[in-house]
C-alpha cells in the first residue's frame, strides 16, 4: 500500500471519529449559549489541551520544523517567541477575561463603554485577524496536499481546500464550541504523540546526545558553524554589492526587522480572538489559569521538540529532498538563480543526480524548488521509518501527514468559531439589533455566519495559494498585537479608559499594521514580494521592514491613550463593577446590565 493511500485512510478515520464526537456534542448542547462557550464546563486540563490544539497550527508544526531544517538556529526564535507569549496571557489576561466576559473578546472591551462603536470595532478586528489566519491555514492545507499526496493538479487542490472548508463549517455549526473543543483535544493529543515519537526516534539515532545531533545537522547543512548561530534568516548582515562591505543602514533595518518580529510574536498571542474565547469554556478563573498552565506545559514541550525535529531533518534528510529538488534548465542541467547552468569542475552541465558531487561554492548557487521547507517534518518521518520506498517509511509518512491535516482542520474550526461568534454576538446582536435579539436568534445568525465565513475563506484561500503561509500568520499576529492587545489591557487595568480610547486603539493599531504591511517589502519591491519586483517595475515599499509590529504596536497603545485623554467620558461605576468582577469572579457568566 502506498503512503498516499494510507495517509488518506488515516485522515478519513480522523475525520469520521471527530464527526462522531461533534454530532454527539451537538446533541448534548442544551442552551443556545452552549454554542459560544460549550456550556462552560470543561476542566482546566481539557481546556489546556484544547488551547494547545488551537494554538499549534500547521505553521508551528510544519513551518518551524522546516525553518530550522533549512536555516538552523533562526527557526528556534519562532519557538521561543510563541512560547514566552503565553506569559502575557497567563499573568494579565486569562483570569480577568474569564471573570468579566461571556462569549467574545468584545464582551470585555465593551463592558463599560458605549456598546455599538466598541463592539463594531472588536468584531472588525476579530474578523480581520481570523480571516488572515484562516487563509494561512487553508493555503497550507492546499500546499500540504500537493506535497504529501503528490497531487499537483490545481483543480484537485481547490477541491481539497473546499473540502476542508466544508468540514470545518460542519464542525462549527453542528458542534459549536463543545464540538470544536473535542476536536482540538483529539488533535493536540495526536500532535503531541507524533512529535514525541519522532523526537525519540531522532535522538535515538544520535545516542541521545544533543551536541552530536547539532554537529551532524551543521555538517549536512553545507553552511558550517553559521547553521548553529543566529543570522541565516533574520537580522542578516547585508553586503553592499559594489563595495563588498557591510551596508550599515540596511543591516540595521534587517536587525530591527528581527526585533519587530519578536515583538509581534510575544505580544500577538494574548490578542488572538480564537485563543481568548477558549477561556470562556471553563467555569472559573482558577480553571482558566490551570488551562493556561497545561497549555504552556504542552506547547513548551512541543516547541522544545521542534529542535529535534528541525535539526533532525537537517541532519538526516538530504538538502535535495528538503528542498524537493533543485531547479534545472531546459537541458536538465542544475542552474543558478539567473538560469545559468552550474559547472561541476570541467563539466559545464551537472544533472540533478550529481548534486552531491558539487563543491561548496557551486552548491551555494543552487536554487531550491520549494524554499519553504514545509515538508521537513513529514520527510523526516519517512526517513526514520526506513526511507522512501519502504513500508516503514510509507507508514510514518502517512501518520505524520494525517496528523498535519488534522492540525490544520482543527485550527480552521477554532478560527471559524471565533469569527462567527463575534459576528453574531457583537455585530448582529449588539450593533445591528441593539441588544434586542433573542439568544436563539443570535445562535442562528452565528451558524449562518459560520457558513458564510467558511465560504469566504474557501474562495480567498483558493485565490491566495501563491502567498507565503508564514507571511499570513505574521500579519495575523501583528494585527492582534497592535489592534487587540492594547485595548484588552487598557480595558482591564486602566480606570479612565473609555469608548473613544477603545475605538481608536483598535482601529489605530489595526490600520497601522495593515497600512505598513501594504507599503512593506512583503507586497512590493523585492523578488519575493506579492508583486515580484522586476527591473523598472512598480514598487511602493516605503516602509523597509517586513514586520510592522515595532511601529504599529506602540501606535496601538498610543492611539488608545490619545483617544482616552481627548474624551471626557468616564464610567467609574462600571469600572468598579469590572474591576471587582475581574478580580473575584462575582456574578460570573451573568449578563452585564447596561
Amino acid at each position: 500500500m502506498s503512503s498516499t493511500t494510507l495517509s488518506a485512510i488515516l485522515f478519513v478515520a480522523f475525520v469520521l471519529f471527530t464527526l462522531v464526537l461533534v454530532f454527539r456534542a451537538g446533541r448534548s448542547n442544551k442552551q443556545s449559549s452552549d454554542f459560544y462557550d460549550g456550556g462552560g464546563g470543561f476542566s482546566g486540563f481539557q481546556n489546556g489541551l484544547a488551547i494547545a490544539g488551537d494554538y499549534m497550527s500547521a505553521a508551528s508544526f510544519l513551518g518551524i520544523a522546516g525553518t530550522i531544517a533549512l536555516f538552523g538556529y533562526d527557526g528556534f526564535l519562532y519557538s521561543i517567541g510563541f512560547l514566552v507569549a503565553w506569559l502575557v496571557a497567563l499573568l494579565l489576561v486569562a483570569e480577568p477575561l474569564r471573570n468579566s466576559g461571556r462569549f467574545t473578546m468584545g464582551d470585555v472591551l465593551a463592558f463599560r463603554m458605549r456598546q455599538r462603536p466598541v463592539r463594531g470595532a472588536a468584531a472588525t478586528s476579530t474578523l480581520v485577524v481570523s480571516i488572515f489566519y484562516l487563509m494561512a491555514q487553508m493555503v497550507g492545507a492546499g500546499a500540504l496536499v500537493s506535497l504529501l499526496l503528490g497531487i499537483n493538479d490545481p483543480s484537485a487542490k481547490n477541491w481539497i481546500i473546499g473540502g476542508v472548508g466544508i468540514l470545518m463549517i460542519v464542525y462549527v455549526t453542528v458542534g459549536g464550541m463543545k464540538g470544536t473543543t473535542y476536536v482540538q483535544i483529539v488533535k493536540a493529543f495526536l500532535l503531541m504523540t507524533g512529535a514525541i515519537l519522532l523526537t525519540i526516534m531522532v535522538l535515538w539515532q544520535f545516542g541521545f546526545n544533543i551536541s552530536d545531533l547539532l554537529g551532524a545537522a551543521r555538517d549536512a547543512s553545507g553552511k558550517g558553524e553559521a547553521f548553529l548561530q543566529p543570522g541565516l534568516k533574520f537580522g542578516k548582515d547585508i553586503i553592499d554589492p559594489l563595495t563588498m562591505a557591510i551596508d550599515p543602514v540596511k543591516t540595521l533595518i534587517s536587525k530591527l526587522d528581527l526585533i519587530s518580529l519578536g515583538m509581534a510574536l510575544v505580544l500577538g498571542t494574548a490578542g488572538l480572538p480564537h485563543i481568548l474565547i477558549r477561556f470562556y469554556t471553563v467555569p472559573t478563573s482558577k480553571a482558566a489559569r490551570k488551562s493556561v498552565n497545561w497549555a504552556i506545559g504542552n506547547i513548551g514541550a512541543f516547541y522544545l521538540m521542534t529542535i529535534a525535529l528541525g535539526f533532525g531533518a537537517a541532519a538526516l534528510v538530504s538538502r535535495a529532498t528538503l528542498f524537493r529538488g533543485f531547479k534545472v534548465d531546459a537541458n536538465g542541467c542544475l542552474m543558478d538563480a539567473k538560469g545559468v547552468a552550474i559547472a561541476n569542475g570541467d563539466v559545464a552541465c551537472t544533472p540533478l543526480a550529481d548534486v552531491g558531487t558539487l563543491d561548496a561554492g557551486a552548491k551555494a548557487l543552487l536554487v531550491p524548488v520549494d524554499p519553504s521547507g514545509n515538508v521537513a517534518a513529514p520527510q523526516l518521518a519517512q526517513f526514520l521509518g526506513g526511507g522512501e520506498g519502504t513500508t516503514g517509511g510509507a507508514i510514518m509518512l502517512a501518520v505524520i501527514g494525517a496528523i498535519a491535516f488534522a492540525t490544520i482542520l482543527a485550527v480552521v474550526a477554532g478560527l471559524t468559531l471565533a469569527s462567527s461568534s463575534s459576528f453574531a454576538h457583537d455585530l448582529y446582536a449588539n450593533v445591528i439589533k441593539k441588544g434586542t435579539a433573542s439568544p436563539a436568534e443570535e445562535v442562528r445568525v452565528a451558524k449562518i455566519s459560520a457558513v458564510v465565513i467558511g465560504g469566504i475563506s474557501i474562495v480567498l484561500a483558493i485565490g491566495a495559494q501563491g502567498l507565503n503561509v508564514a507571511f499570513l500568520v505574521a500579519i495575523a499576529f501583528a494585527i492582534a498585537a497592535s489592534g487587540n492587545l492594547p485595548a484588552v489591557l487598557y480595558s482591564l487595568f486602566w480606570k479612565n479608559f473609555n469608548t473613544r480610547g477603545a475605538v481608536w486603539s483598535i482601529y489605530g493599531g489595526l490600520f497601522s499594521a495593515v497600512i505598513l504591511l501594504v507599503f512593506s517589502p512583503n507586497v512590493s519591491g523585492a523578488a519575493t514580494s506579492l508583486i515580484p519586483f522586476v527591473e523598472g517595475g512598480v514598487r511602493f515599499d516605503f516602509f523597509p521592514l517586513a514586520n510592522p509590529g515595532i511601529v504599529s504596536i506602540p501606535l496601538g497603545f498610543f492611539f488608545g491613550w490619545l483617544g482616552t485623554v481627548t474624551s471626557s467620558e468616564r464610567n467609574l461605576a462600571k469600572y468598579a463593577e469590572l474591576e471587582v468582577r475581574s478580580m473575584t469572579g462575582a456574578a460570573i457568566g451573568k449578563a452585564v446590565q447596561h
Binding site: Y73, F76, L77, S79, I80, G81, L83, V84, W86, L87, V88, L90, L91, L92, N209, I210, S211, D212, L214, G215, R218, E225, L228, Q229, P230, G231, F234, G235, K255, L258, I259, G262, M263, V266, S285, K286, R289, V292, N293, I296, G297, G300, Y303, L304, L572, A573, A576, E577, E579, V580, R581, M583, T584, G585, A586, A587, I588, Q593
Partner: protein
C-alpha cells in the same frame, strides 16, 4: 435594583479587602511581566546585535545562543510555577471570599 447593585460594586471596590487583593495581584503580576519582557527582548537584541558573543561554543556544539534560548523556556516554566504558587497561596482564598460576599449582597 441597578443602583443598589452599583453600590455593591463600588463599596466592594473601596473595601480594604479588595484593595489588598488588588495590590497582591498587581504587585506580583506587573513586575513579573516587566521582568520577563525585558529578559525576552534582551535575548532577541543579543541575537540581533551580539552575534559573535552569542555564537561562542560552551559544551560541544552547543553555543551561548542555544543556552539562552533554553533558558527562555526554563524561565517561562519557572514564572508559570511561581505565579501558580502565588495565586493558590495568596490570591484564590481572598478572591473567593469576596466573590461569595458580593454574590450574597447582589441576591438580597
Amino acid at each position: 435594583m441597578s443602583s443598589k447593585n452599583e453600590k455593591v460594586w463600588s463599596d466592594t471596590q473601596a473595601s480594604p479587602e479588595f484593595q489588598d487583593l488588588k495590590r497582591k495581584f498587581r504587585g506580583f503580576a506587573f513586575p513579573l511581566t516587566v521582568a520577563f519582557l525585558v529578559w525576552y527582548f534582551l535575548y532577541v537584541i543579543l541575537t540581533a546585535f551580539a552575534r559573535e558573543w552569542i555564537s561562542t561554543p560552551v559544551v560541544g556544539n552547543i553555543n551561548i545562543a542555544f543556552i539562552l534560548g533554553l533558558l527562555q523556556f526554563a524561565t517561562t516554566f519557572l514564572i508559570m510555577w511561581l505565579y501558580e504558587r502565588h495565586s493558590s497561596h495568596s490570591l484564590d482564598g481572598p478572591s473567593d471570599a469576596l466573590r461569595d460576599k458580593v454574590d450574597k449582597e447582589l441576591s438580597k
